[in-house]
């Protein structure tokens, strides 16, 4: 293992951390603006031109706010829980190719931290560990809303994670590899080679599960403001709460990358045009997360579990079986 590789990897990690922390902040700005426009409002307007510096104002507020650890909480767990959410979100990004490889100053850069051969498995596994943030934070908070939220997060988790795995199984059977680079190269032939055309059911199922995974609006049950205050975040303040926030938004970006790469061709043949297309696809999926928040109601936890176990899981299993039969003959 030579020094250049270590330096390159560290540089990539720092770049990803900085870009996606900043994007998480900007994501909140876009979310507020998009929601506002959809509801005939203006959104943030006062801090900076068109409210652009609102992100900085929020950041300063979160960083400088007093870090309150309430009296009856289980202190070590309460303190570590937000770190789990933020850290796992960024750890999951290690196996995601954000950009096709390119050559700069005679040096070939692979914009992926680690091209491991179980990429998608690693991404989903680490994202699943992110569950421990809400679960432990909620259970340690000594607050009834937080406790309900923790219970919900566990109940929802075992529902959607089945769908995520089964939905991905069918395209993975076709590709024959778990590496996201291999999955991308499988579809490098252009728009007709995208897996979404051969696996539309898996695409829709995975997309639905992504909403549960990131806790976005139709399945925003873990921290549903009008039912359980802020759920697991009720007792958190300042930067600890901000870590939950950054983790949630980073997760939205990363799951958008995963959907785009697995089902919609990723960066295609690796040209600049393909890379820009990847960013456009990711932007669309991120926008869709905001769009549904303005348009759709939330459902109850039991409805989500009903949907996952009784509707989506049978469909996903049938999809896997059908894919297998088609591949055999």
């Amino acid at each position: 293992m030579d020094v250049a590789f270590i330096i390159e990897t560290i540089a990539k990690i720092v770049v990803i951390l900085l870009i996606f922390s900043a994007l998480a902040g900007l994501g909140t700005y876009f979310e507020r603006k998009v929601l506002a426009f959809m509801q005939r409002r203006l959104g943030p307007m006062h801090v900076g031109p068109y409210g652009l510096l609102q992100v900085a104002a929020d950041g300063i507020k979160l960083f400088t706010k007093e870090d309150i650890v309430p009296q009856n909480v289980v202190k070590p767990i309460f303190k570590i829980a937000p770190v789990i959410t933020a850290a796992t979100a960024f750890m999951a990004s290690a196996a995601i190719p954000f950009w096709p490889q390119f050559t700069a100053f005679g040096y070939t850069v692979h914009p992926i931290v680690a091209d491991i051969n179980v990429g998608i498995l690693y991404v989903l596994g680490i994202m699943a560990i992110g569950l421990y943030g809400p679960l432990l934070g909620g259970m340690a908070s000594a607050n009834k809303w937080s406790l309900i939220s923790a219970a919900r997060s566990a109940a929802i988790f075992i529902s959607y994670e089945v769908i995520t795995g089964l939905a991905l199984l069918a395209p993975l059977m076709m590709v024959g590899s778990l590496s996201l680079i291999d999955i991308n190269n499988y579809q490098a032939g252009g728009i007709t080679h995208w897996i979404v055309w051969s696996q539309p059911v898996a695409f829709v199922l995975f997309w639905i599960a992504a909403f549960a995974e990131t806790g976005r609006t139709p399945f925003h049950l873990v921290a549903n403001d009008h039912e359980i205050i802020d759920g697991f975040g009720t007792e958190y303040s300042g930067m600890r709460w901000g870590m939950f926030f950054i983790g949630e938004y980073a997760n939205m970006f990363f799951i958008s990358f995963v959907i785009s790469i697995v089902f919609l061709g990723g960066f295609g043949d690796g040209t600049i045009a393909g890379a820009v297309q990847l960013l456009l696809k990711v932007s669309f999926f991120f926008f869709f997360f905001l769009w549904t928040r303005a348009a759709w109601p939330d459902i109850r936890p039991d409805q989500l579990m009903w949907l996952c176990w009784k509707v989506l899981m049978p469909i996903a299993v049938l999809n896997v079986v059908a894919t297998g039969i088609v591949m055999m003959f």
């Binding site: 506002a36 426009f37 959809m38 509801q39 005939r40 409002r41 203006l42 348009a295 759709w296 509707v311």
Partner: protein
């Protein structure tokens, strides 16, 4: 955009805009439940919702009023903090110290002191309204025979002391403003209705 009020008749009949919503009973059998799920899944209602919000975003018909910079006009009969007006020609205070407002005030918040000055004219030495008690009913403005006390349009009342708005000196139009013609004749509560000169009949002469 003006919204036409069609819901004036609040009874449910043919002529009113109200109607009973047709709500189906909940399905009881498993097959009916299944049919309901299928119907709801494929009826595309979720996409209607998506389209509605997207349409509003594209139309960009923003209804926000950016308050400190923009203000909505308030109605002429709005009852904000009181003002004391002056006579246009002479600049004297309109208030003649009759005490009707003090008498009618149902929350007993008006306090005035008067004295007879050297010209045998009744002078108001002190006039204050306790905003902690005032309910802004408008009786004082309505009862005032001289249109002296009126409800102004000033609804932004943030201050260190409520009393900053309702001491006599604060309510009375300053003389320089009067000379600059900046005293607004108030069209609202208790004021003379426009065109009331024409409707005044001559007082019958006594025999």
């Amino acid at each position: 955009m003006h919204h036409e009020e069609v819901f004036t008749d609040r009874n449910v009949n043919e002529s009113s805009a109200y109607y009973y919503v047709d709500i189906e009973n909940y399905p009881t059998t498993g097959w009916d439940k299944f049919k309901q799920v299928v119907k709801r899944t494929f009826s595309g209602e979720l996409f209607v919702g998506l389209w509605v919000v997207m349409r509003e975003m594209i139309k960009f018909d923003i209804h926000t009023v950016q308050y400190p910079m923009e203000k909505l006009p308030i109605g002429p009969r709005y009852r904000a903090v009181h003002k004391l007006l002056r006579l246009w020609e002479s600049g004297y205070e309109r208030c003649i110290g009759c005490g009707l407002c003090e008498k009618i005030c149902i929350s007993d918040c008006i306090r005035m002191d008067t004295r007879i000055d050297e010209n045998s004219r009744k002078e108001v030495t002190e006039y204050s309204i306790n905003l902690g008690r005032c309910i802004f009913c408008g009786y004082c403005a309505e009862v005032c025979p001289e249109l002296a006390i009126v409800h102004g349009q000033r609804y932004e009342n943030a201050s260190e002391q409520r009393a900053h708005f309702v001491i006599k000196d604060d309510m009375l139009t300053p003389l320089d403003m009067l000379k600059a013609g900046q005293q607004a004749e108030y069209p609202g509560f208790g004021a003379i209705i426009p065109g009331s000169d024409e409707s005044v009949k001559k007082t019958p002469l006594a025999y």
